[in-house]
């Protein structure tokens, strides 16, 4: 039998033992808290504004002449959740390689940011986008067209990366 004598309750004073002042104190604290500002946010109306360090949906950087990606496949290799699929193709332009297929399966993505960390071309970055709702599994597999985001929308993140990473 492992019950020890209840030492702590002996240390309580008489007023603490009869419990009535404790109830009064508890109610007082309840009323006090009623007039304090609320901590929660009513979400769909008030949205969270993420800092540049936030790791949201991974996107591809789109410049005026096209995407930066050269389809080296490093992001696909490092991805711990195996969410990225890259199939390379070649052209005659200055940048010889480009991804024929670039898919990110958002059902698998764990937002670790490793793809962004290893990319040698600064082509894939984590955006500030955190509202990800899909109505079917097929919608969640994002093709290249949906992943490309103009570079001007990603300036915050790119600057943060250059400064702190």
């Amino acid at each position: 039998m492992n019950i020890k004598h209840n030492i702590e309750s002996d240390r309580l004073t008489f007023w603490e033992k009869i419990y009535i002042p404790e109830i009064a104190k508890g109610l007082a604290s309840t009323f006090k808290t009623m007039f304090q500002p609320k901590f929660t946010r009513s979400y769909p109306e008030e949205k969270m504004v993420p800092s540049p360090s936030f790791r949201g949906r991974p996107v591809l950087v789109q410049e005026e002449e096209g995407g930066r990606c050269v389809a080296c496949g490093l992001c696909s290799r490092v991805c711990p959740a195996l969410a990225i699929e890259v199939q390379p193709a070649e052209t005659d332009k200055e940048k010889e390689r480009f991804p024929k297929v670039f898919e990110i399966n958002m059902l698998r993505c764990i937002f670790c940011g490793f793809c962004e960390e290893v990319c040698p071309e600064e082509a894939i970055v984590m955006s500030q986008d955190y509202e990800l709702v899909f109505t079917s599994q097929e919608d969640a597999i994002l093709p290249k067209e949906k992943l490309l985001v103009p570079i001007k929308n990603l300036q915050d993140r790119l600057e943060w990366l250059r400064q702190y990473r």
Binding site: N2, I3, N6, L12, E16, G113, Y164
Partner: protein, 424 residues
């Protein structure tokens, strides 16, 4: 062996239950059987019980309301992380550690990074070490806030839970500022940390830290002189000093029984040698002692954080050793050599020497260790996780024996098991 047919599954279940009940019946029963009408009752608590903090199943053998024996059964959240590690490079395994002890991912990241660095024979630069200490202590506070909040919630004191959650929420906002994610941080890297902490975030941490002890005091004062709370906590789930050591407990479970063991002092890692703090021990060995150890440790952590913020040095946050540590991004973009190293490190991984290393840190739950057996390639041959929750849960039957069934909830809460870590 491939389990395919239904009869095989039934056979496995039969063997498992047989083992469980054998364990359960090991105690002498005649002592408790005063009345011929009394019969023992076998009761399953969990795995879907809200007070078991996840999917812990405890099989209880009851005599009336008294627990004669309790056997915890683990494994309902087994995801095979030790096996997964064998098929991933060391770098790839870092996000997996977020999901071990999912209440304090930051300290898990620090633990795995230290373990890999120990195997590789490298050391992170000073600023990275200090930043790691900073985030590990913040993780300790957030974990203990959760632990004391949920213990109080199990007893019906909902306000404490909500108030500690507000503080935890503020900490998670700070984690998001530091590394970009609230929960699955993946912040530490081999040879440093993922990114530097901006100065405005350091100021944010300082601002939070100035307010924190007063707010904790306020939340603590809700219950610390409450008669119902103390009656339900004090004297319940007693674990003696000798048994705690014998069963391999660690962390607050061990220190609550009066054993001053803390790896931060006993085997200093990171920069704990340069920091002044005390180990909290209480001698009562009951659930209240373990609860109070957690509360007091938070004040100590706040003290440590103040010292870290004052002493935080400037400099690099990642080691410059391109054969083992990922190079900086600006160098990858401009230099050929670093680009090649980037590709090599990701494809083949940083390879430690052939051999075995064990590295442990004092995580919020206790001693969290990683035992790495390397065969000289970029992937571990074996990666054993010594998780504090699994060892602490072994003390459960010792604590539960002889107490009332209603105390079981408090006892589980005081051990603070995280099943993601216990089942791996």
């Amino acid at each position: 062996m491939n389990v395919t047919s239904k009869s095989q599954i039934e056979e496995i279940n039969r063997i498992r239950n047989h083992k469980l009940y054998k364990e359960l019946m090991s105690q002498d029963v005649s002592l408790y059987m005063n009345d011929a009408l009394e019969n023992d009752l076998i009761l399953n608590m969990g795995p879907q019980h809200p007070a078991t903090h996840g999917v812990l199943r405890v099989v209880l053998r009851l005599d009336g309301e008294t627990i004669i024996n309790a056997v915890p059964e683990l494994g309902y959240l087994h995801r095979g992380y030790e096996k997964l590690a064998e098929n991933a490079t060391y770098h790839e395994f870092i996000p997996h550690t977020d999901r071990l002890d999912y209440i304090s991912p930051m300290s898990n990241n620090v633990a795995i990074a230290l373990a890999i660095e120990n195997a590789l024979g490298i050391e992170a630069p000073p600023r990275a070490q200090w930043i790691r200490t900073l985030v590990a202590e913040m993780a300790r506070i957030s974990s203990h806030l959760m632990a004391i909040g949920s213990t109080c919630l199990d007893l019906g004191a909902m306000t404490v839970f909500l108030w500690t959650f507000i503080e935890r929420e503020k900490l998670y906002d700070l984690f998001q500022e530091i590394c970009g994610a609230r929960f699955t941080t993946s912040y530490s890297r081999i040879g440093g940390v993922a990114n530097d902490i901006p100065d405005n975030v350091i100021n944010g941490i300082r601002k939070w830290l100035d307010e924190f002890p007063a707010l904790l005091k306020k939340a603590e004062a809700l219950v610390d002189r409450n008669r119902i709370f103390i009656d339900r906590m004090a004297g319940v789930g007693y674990l003696s000093k000798e048994r705690a050591i014998a069963l391999g407990a660690s962390g607050p479970t061990l220190r609550g029984s009066g054993v001053p063991r803390d790896l931060r002092k006993d085997n200093p890692y990171l920069v704990y040698e340069q920091i002044d703090f005390n180990i909290i021990t209480l001698n009562d060995g009951d659930t209240l002692a373990r609860y109070m150890v957690r509360v007091k440790e938070m004040y100590e952590s706040a003290k440590i954080l103040h010292q870290i913020l004052d002493k935080l040095p400037q400099g690099e946050v990642k080691l410059n050793q391109p054969k083992k540590v990922l190079p900086n991004k600006s160098e990858i973009y401009t230099k050929m050599e670093e680009l090649i190293h980037d590709f090599m490190l990701i494809n083949y991984g940083a390879a430690p020497e052939k051999g075995e290393t064990y590295t442990a840190i004092e995580s919020p739950k206790g001693e969290l260790g990683f035992f790495i057996v390397s065969d000289g390639t970029g992937q571990p041959w074996k990666l054993k996780i010594h998780s504090p929750s699994a060892t602490n849960l072994q003390t459960l039957s010792e604590m539960a024996r002889g107490s009332m069934i209603a105390d079981m909830v408090v006892i589980i809460g005081s051990v603070d098991p995280i099943m993601g870590e216990a089942d791996k």
